[in-house]
Symmetry: C2
């Protein structure tokens, strides 16, 4: 089972989960909450969907009865722009899941900011693991969603934190297809109805962006119905 | 000469310098400004000396006529505390330069946040290098001031940014003693009079904390007078 075991006393220490509010982070949260005292971390970075994602984060945290929750604000990514997710002058393109290059929704080095926040918090609360719902194969081609990136990040933790820290990033979904993530989430009773994946910020998910397309393909592949409403 | 050469077209691209406002970052800025179009980045993270450091940053940027400058706000490190620099409930200890462990002024994983900000900005403006004035031997024992940390970070950049990016972090002072940094700064006419190193936020530097003690020892070792006023 992914994320089921940690060595040493890691199982008795809290685990931090990066919870964006999307379906992958919801399944990562379900795994962490099953095996640890979970502490939820959310980062608002001036993305278009900031308020909507924050609402999903709080709802998922309420669902799991999480008392340790932290929302960090990061203004830098919005200030520098460079992505359609943070710069309103750049349009969100229609879905293209066969693209090979890095898409315009890529926020430069974003996951490093998120993980740095998690590591700093982990050092203060004594957490031994950081769960992130990154997915390599189905991930829109973002460089910071690949195994090789997380291996490099764990090396950075090893040399960049207090000596002897057992802390590491765990990526239980990294090798899964979206349909497998949906199946795992259903098995764990993850509250998919509370999640938000769309790159837009309308009341209903658009169903047309990369993120909606990946999600819908995942539910279809798992033979399940996505419980959120679409436009 | 440290920082004198970059391969390929890196010399014609801008270089980002992390400028805290302290003496080390001032010398790193002097090197970057000598060899590149320098873009200055400052991070305010709720540290006690936030306003004073920001003032030093702006003064050094004015000195070098830097037009590309960015100040990022990061509330997380203050929110989580854990260091005497960000948590007013933890007192700043008197200097102890023979200590072997990690001191209470250590801000967990701080430099990773700063470098992540620099990398994100670098990807947007096309910078090829990031200068940081980290110093290994004289660095108060912070884990994220060591060569091994920067090697790991450069690996993270290699795998975590757009493919083919030439970007790397350069640490021209990493192997220097504080006295050598002072000598290099004097040779480069770095504006030491504009810098701020003290962990306190009074009008004059305290002369008694680790950071003041390292600085004063550096000037003494270089046979020079520190131009800033002390209490």
């Amino acid at each position: 089972m992914p994320g089921a075991s940690d060595g040493g006393d890691a199982g008795r220490r809290p685990a931090i989960v990066l919870v964006s509010g999307g379906m992958d982070s919801c399944v990562a949260a379900a795994l962490a909450a099953r095996d640890h005292e979970a502490a939820f971390l959310h980062v608002s970075y001036g993305q278009r969907t900031e308020g909507r994602e924050r609402r999903a984060f709080e709802a998922i945290a309420d669902h799991y009865g999480v008392t340790r929750r932290l929302t960090a604000r990061l203004d830098l990514l919005h200030a520098i722009g460079g992505s359609c997710l943070t710069d309103e002058a750049i349009a969100i393109p229609a879905a293209n899941l066969s693209r090979a290059d890095v898409p315009v929704s890529y926020v430069p080095f974003r996951n490093t900011h998120f993980l740095a926040a998690a590591v700093s918090w982990a050092e203060v609360i004594g957490a031994a693991s950081i769960y992130i719902g990154a997915v390599e194969e189905d991930s829109s081609g973002y460089p910071d969603c690949r195994r090789v990136y997380y291996d490099a990040f764990n090396r950075l933790i090893e040399v960049g934190t207090r000596p002897g820290s057992p802390l590491r990033v765990v990526t239980p979904l990294i090798g899964m297809a979206k349909s497998e993530i949906v199946s795992l989430g259903l098995e764990l009773k993850a509250p998919f109805e509370l999640t938000w994946s769309c790159y837009g910020a309308a009341e209903r998910a658009c169903g047309a962006c990369d993120s909606c397309a990946l999600r819908l393909r995942g539910f279809a592949g798992a033979g399940a119905r996505d419980p959120i409403p679409y436009a």
